[in-house]
């Protein structure tokens, strides 16, 4: 009953309502007039939007010109009608117009005056269009736009090299690897355009970050693991089966880490400041867990050491109430700067997306190119003669340590899942005993694990046996 009555009503009054709305729409055809009315009443866009029941941007669009028919438009027009009664349009502004041009024949300015409010002169219209274009160009680009642009850039570089090599994938990949450093620096610069923080590319370095000579390392301990479980040894008839696994693109994931933005400054002692990052002189705690590698890597010395932010944060986390695995490290000195974790995140996301697409499409050329870009980015961030765009050895150390800390995290996760951790090596190698597929999916994605293969392409598995009374 009710719907029928409604439709009957609409049938009779609908036409009238539509006509009334069309009339109002015609009356408030000039966008400038809509703005004037709202401002005359002292209303904000939000207030109008709320009253009409649309978003702020919709009202802004209506005031900028377009006003497509919609259920809310009638409400908006009725509001304008009411406002127009309170604030009637001022007498058209021809007074100054006629005042400055009294010379022409008396009939001419009156005709002009009558038409002026309705029609914009061609020159004025051109100026308005130019202004709109200018505003459009000035509008900042969103992250999505930048990402899409950079993905296209990567694809274009691959296409260009493939065309140049006549479809020879190996030759194209070789050429792409050669141009990887300038290319990734260009991507990095693009992701930093309009960014909130401007980084220092050539800061003055503290002595601990200076290499005594080209081939000698500086004083920073990156906590690279090289650990085998002391309680087991490899044996052909061992009772425990072990699979060697690789973390995929470890350095790419490690780009997400707390990085110091500016020049490092020195502080002595005290608490760890979560909003800063850098390198710290600590006395590390003793590691007493035989089933897990030390978070400090294969360090043979005891005593104080300069460690990086990721290592310190890992130690502090392990000392925290959730784990209680170690004593908290003692911090003696720090070289730090204000930090952000998202500094390289845009770059990481672009490269990770390009990598995922390349893997899904089986495109080994793009995959090789992306791998060369992120790995060379990390290895030449310091003082490298191959990359003079930036000299931040501190970032290089921090990103590497983050990769090692991530590997330690995976070892810990395996241990908590009941798997035996037999070996943690280098940046990305983890040897596990037990059914690791319960914990990680197998594949080449960033969150997955891949079985290591030997030279013949065979998966690396072996057996171990417990040593003496160990375990």
């Amino acid at each position: 009953m009710y719907p029928v009555a409604m439709s009957g009503e609409l049938g009779a009054d609908g036409v009238a309502a539509l006509l009334a709305e069309a009339k109002l729409a015609a009356a408030f055809d000039d966008p400038a007039e809509r703005v004037r009315l709202r401002k005359a009443a002292g209303l904000s866009l939000e207030q109008v939007a709320k009253a009409v029941g649309v978003g702020r941007q919709t009202v802004a669009n209506w005031e900028a010109g377009g006003m497509p028919s919609s259920p809310s438009r009638g409400k908006y027009l009725r509001l304008l009608e009411g406002l127009a009664q309170i604030h009637p349009a001022p007498a058209p502004a021809q007074e100054p117009h006629t005042a400055v041009q009294p010379q022409p024949a008396p009939g001419a300015p009156q005709v002009q005056a009558a038409q002026a409010p309705a029609a914009e002169s061609p020159v004025a219209r051109e100026a308005r269009a130019g202004h709109a274009r200018h505003q459009n160009r000035r509008r900042t680009t969103s992250t999505e736009q930048v990402h899409a642009e950079l993905r296209e850039k990567i694809a274009a570089a691959v296409d260009q090299e493939l065309t140049r090599a006549g479809g020879d994938a190996d030759a194209a990949a070789g050429a792409l690897v050669k141009q990887a450093i300038p290319d990734v620096m260009a991507l990095f610069a693009r992701t930093r355009a309009q960014a909130r923080y401007e980084h220092t590319a050539y800061p003055a370095l503290p002595d601990i970050l200076r290499k005594p000579s080209k081939s000698d390392p500086d004083l920073i301990w990156e906590a690279r693991p090289s650990w085998r479980h002391p309680g087991f040894r490899r044996h052909p008839d061992g009772e425990v089966g072990v699979t060697a696994l690789d973390v995929n693109a470890a350095y790419l994931s490690a780009l997400k880490t707390w990085l110091p933005i500016g020049k490092l400054t020195h502080t002595v002692g005290g608490e760890h400041d979560r909003k800063r990052a850098g390198v710290h002189l600590i006395t590390p705690p003793v590691w007493e867990h035989a089933d897990l590698p030390s978070p400090l890597g294969d360090r043979e010395e005891a005593g104080p050491v300069w460690v990086t932010e990721p290592t310190l944060r890992l130690l502090l986390r392990l000392a925290g109430p959730k784990h209680r695995l170690v004593e908290a490290p003692v911090i003696h000195e720090s070289w730090t700067s204000n930090a952000t974790e998202t500094f390289l995140d845009s770059l990481r996301q672009v490269l990770a997306a390009a990598r995922a697409d390349a893997l899904a499409a089986g495109d080994e050329v793009t995959n090789t190119y992306v791998k060369a870009m992120y790995s060379k980015f990390v290895s030449t961030l310091g003082e490298s003669s191959h990359n003079r765009d930036i000299a931040r050895p501190d970032w290089m150390h921090l990103i590497r340590s983050q990769a090692f800390a991530n590997l330690w995290g995976r070892a810990h996760k395996a241990h908590q899942a009941g798997l035996g951790v037999m070996c943690a090596l280098g940046t990305d190698e983890l040897h596990l005993a037990g059914d690791w597929r319960q914990t990680w999916a197998e594949g080449r994605g960033l969150a997955e694990m891949k079985v290591k293969t030997d030279r013949d392409g065979q998966p690396v598995t072996y057996t171990v046996t417990a040593v003496g009374g160990g375990r």
């Binding site: 401007e198 220092t200 590319a201 050539y202 800061p203 003055a204 370095l205 020049k263 400054t265 003079r388």
Partner: protein
Amino acid sequence: MAGRWMNLGHYNAHGIPGADALGAGIERMVTGITSPADTERGIAARLRYLTASAAGYAAIERAGINVTPRTLFAWLAEERLPNKANQQRLDAAYWDLRRHNVAADLKRRLTTRGGTRIEIDPVDQTRVDPRHRRDLQTRRLTVRPRHWDVAVDAWLTDDAETLDAVWDEVIHDLGSEYDSFAYVSSIGWNA
């Protein structure tokens, strides 16, 4: 040297003269033999470089190596090794010649593309009492080819005064507070 800093370090600011940083930056661009000067390989490489041209023999002489041709031939044939003092002189002669030879290339690298943009890190004021601190930011500016040409020549001849004059001219482009960049903590560029 531009000089509102009058007496750098009086309030515990730390920095080096901009001209020194500029010279060090140019020095960093020079590459050459990486084998140490006291290894057979390093000595052989230096001798080979120095005996390949008349300029090389001149460099040997300038470095104060006074040996008979017989000794030089013995070195080249690797029958004998130079003594410690002569090893150091050979190293000095090698880098002297190397700098002269790469200077033209350095100028080309620095002046193509209309000059090179440098980043200037201001003096370290972390230990300065806040009320005496100046508000200094990291600044970037493009050093023009005419400045690079003079700077590389001055660096080559160890002419500190000219290098200083170049730096003064360069920082004039920084605007009203150019004076504060007479001393810096570091500068860097990509060329």
